[in-house]
Every structure is written in C-alpha cells, then in structure tokens.
Symmetry: C2
Subunit: 245 residues, 2 copies
C-alpha cells in the first residue's frame, strides 16, 4: 500500500496542533458512528428510550463541530498553513460539516423510532433496513479509517459502495410501497419508516463526500462531481507518481 | 440600519480578490435561485422538459462550487487572511457548500417533475406546494441579500422564517397522506410529490445555514445550534457595540 505522511515542521507545536485536530475529527466520527448504530437499533427493536437518547446526543455532535471549526480557524490565522497542511485543514472543515449532517440524519432516525416504538413491524422490510444501516455505518467507518491512514485507495472503495447503498434503498422503498398499497392504514407509519430509510441513504452520500475529501487531501485533486472512473484515474496516477513511475 | 464594511488593504489586488469571490458567490446564488424557480414550475405545471433542464443545469452549479472553492484556497495560501478577511473566506466556503446542496435539492425536484409530468394533479396540494416553493426561494434570496449587504439583522429574519416553512411543509405532508389513504392507487405518485416537498423544506434549512454564516462573518460569532433567541441576542449586542453603546 502506498501512503503519504503529514509534513514535518520546524515548529513542534504546529505538528501537535495538526495531530490534535485530526484526532478530534476521529473522535467526532466515532461518536457519530455510535449515534447511527443506536438510532438503527432503536428503529429496528422499537426501543423508544434509546431513540430519545440519540436525539439528545446530537447536541454533543454539534458541540464538537463548533469546537473543531474554531480550532481550524485558529490554525489558519496563526500558522497560515501551506500546501498539504492547508489541504488538511480544508479537508477537516468539510469533513466535520458532513459528520454533523450525518449526526442530524441519525437524530431523525432516532425521532422516527420514537414514533414507531409501539408499531407492529413487517419483519422482512426491517431486516433489510438493519442491513442498510450496517452498510452505511461501515461506509462511514471505512471513510474515517481512510482519513486516519491518509489512504486514497481505501477512500475510493468507500465511494464505490454508494451505488449498492442506493440499490438497497430503492428495494426497501418498493417494499414499503407494496405494504402501503396492501393496507392503507399503515401509510402513516410506513412514511415514518421511509423517512428513516431515506436518512440512511443520505448517510451513504455524506460518507462518500468524506472519502472525496480524503482524496483531495492525499492527492491534491478535487474529485467531487467527476464520477467514479475519473476519481480512480486520479488515484492511480497519484500512486504511480509516488512510486516514481 | 447598521452595517459593517469589508476591511481595506494596502494591496489593491487583495481587495479585488475578496470582492471577486463575493461576486462569484452571488452569481452562484442567482443560478441556484433560478434552478429552484424552474424546478418548482416544472413540478407544478408538469413541464417535463423544463424539469430535465434543471437536472442538466446542476452541472454548472457544481462547477461553480469547485471554482469558488479553488479561489478560496488560493486566497488562503497567498494572502494568509486575518480577522474579518479570514471569516469572509470561511463564510464563503461554507455558503457554497449549502448552495451546492440546494442545487442538488432543485435537481431532485426537477427529476420528480419528470416522473409526474403526465400525472393528474390534486389542485389544492399543488397550490400549497407552489406557495412553499415561493417561500423557500424568498428565504434564499433574502439570505443572499444579507450576504451581499453584510446585514446580520436581515440574516436573522431569514432564520426566523424556517419555523413557518416547517409548518407549511407539515401541512402539505398531512394532505398528501389523506390523498394516499383515500385512493391507494396514488401512493406511488404522491411519494414522488412528498420527496419534492421534502426537498423544498431542506432548501429552507440550507438558506437558514447561509444566514448563520452571514452572522458569523459580520458579528464574529458562531450562531449555529444555539437557537433563534440566542442568535438575536448576539446580533443586538453587535449592533450596540457598533453604535458605541
């Protein structure tokens, strides 16, 4: 595997500041991952109290976003970072925006789970929702791992999963529509289920965004909106450059 | 009205760079506003071709996001901006992320409108959707105006409208549920309508985010996640400081 390291500075304090901000992002990411896990469990099992905890827990996600943003601003103002250091700060600032929004999606799922606590669940749809929840949580974890290890190839693999997530999402939506048509009394509840499933699909999108920021930081290329093939090409070229081809 | 100006620099080029980036944001905002207007019109009238144009038009929104982001990075690297200049660049970088996501929401509405082109519309729900579309478009325009005029009080008025938008949204959702329950054959179409309405509600959220960045830039305070009352207090204190109370 082919990796790039953080640049080294004559100021040890600057190294420490950059390392701190990276660790804060990973801590925030870990918290958001737990929020997703709890929200999906509350949705699947009907544990309303756990859903409520997720809703409350979003405050801490928000607090961390503000804290890390302040730290980034402080580093920009004091250190005027250049090149890879500047890209790191930009990637961090963008990553925490997506983490905060993943937190909002988890909060929505938590809220929906409280609405659905006493609802008799159609088992097969909920099994698929559990699988989708696991899938998007893995995407987020892999994106954060790619960020921790500065690994753009791992980031690409995250982005490549988003189409599968979209397909799983579409399958669940179709199934929910069938339930609603068979028994229109379930419409209200099934809509809450659909909002929660939509939130999971959005978590996949945000995790893909984070993987794109990893590529931006490592390769120095903005790979948003260019498609998976072009993204892969940039990463392969970067790998070849680092091998000295 | 009480306003703050951009700082003046000994380097005229720096002034010009900051002014350019502000104008790019307003141009991108104007494009996104037009995308919303077209998407809502396509949805209401059933002009599928116009909906398709909105979908295609999102590429230009994405291109502008990347261009402005590059410009911000260039200014950070070359100028190492401080204080208000740094806040401007940060506010711009965040604003264009929300503008790009508003563009995505308009694209979704455009896509839904192509699904619904031949669908016989329940008039009263669609009248309310038109009103909601107008409302969130006004929120965006007002947020961009506040950004152009560096007016944090105007930004507060934008954020204050989001609760009304949420209420309008809830009303439309309830109406859609009633239609679906009365005639389950409409469920598939009404879900497309619901996704479009949800996208409008999200545009209100993103416009609120933009208004918060205006306050951050003007007042130097991060007012995300603190609630409307605390936001108003920060703005009033800022106004009092500028008056010299």
């Amino acid at each position: 595997m082919d990796k790039v390291g953080l640049e080294k500075h004559t100021s040890k304090q600057f190294d420490a500041d950059l390392e701190d901000v990276r660790e804060l992002v990973l801590a925030m990411g870990g918290l958001v991952e737990q929020q997703i896990a709890d929200a999906v469990r509350a949705l699947i099992t009907g544990e309303g109290a756990l859903g409520e905890e997720v809703v409350q827990g979003d405050t801490e996600v928000n607090r961390m976003e503000v804290e890390i943003d302040e730290e980034c601003t402080r580093i920009l103002a004091r250190r005027a970072p250049q090149a890879g250091d500047l890209r790191l700060i930009i990637a961090v600032a963008k990553t925490i925006t997506d983490l905060e929004r993943i937190g909002d999606e988890a909060e929505k799922i938590g809220r929906m789970s409280t609405h659905l606590a006493s609802y008799d669940r159609p088992k097969s749809a909920f099994y698929q929702i559990e699988m989708l929840g696991r899938h998007v949580r893995e995407m987020l974890r892999d994106a954060l791992d790619a960020f921790a290890r500065l690994d753009s190839e791992a980031a690409l693999r995250v982005a490549q999963q988003d189409e599968d997530v979209d397909r799983e999402y579409e399958g669940i939506v179709r199934q929910c529509i069938t339930y609603m048509m068979e028994d229109p009394r379930t419409i209200r509840h099934m809509l809450d289920v659909l909002w929660a499933v939509k939130a999971l699909e959005r978590i996949g999108d945000h995790s893909t965004n984070i993987s794109e920021y990893v590529v931006y930081f490592v390769e120095g290329k903005d790979v948003r909106h260019i498609g998976l093939e072009a993204m892969e090409k940039e990463i392969n070229e970067g790998a070849a450059r680092r091998r000295g081809d």
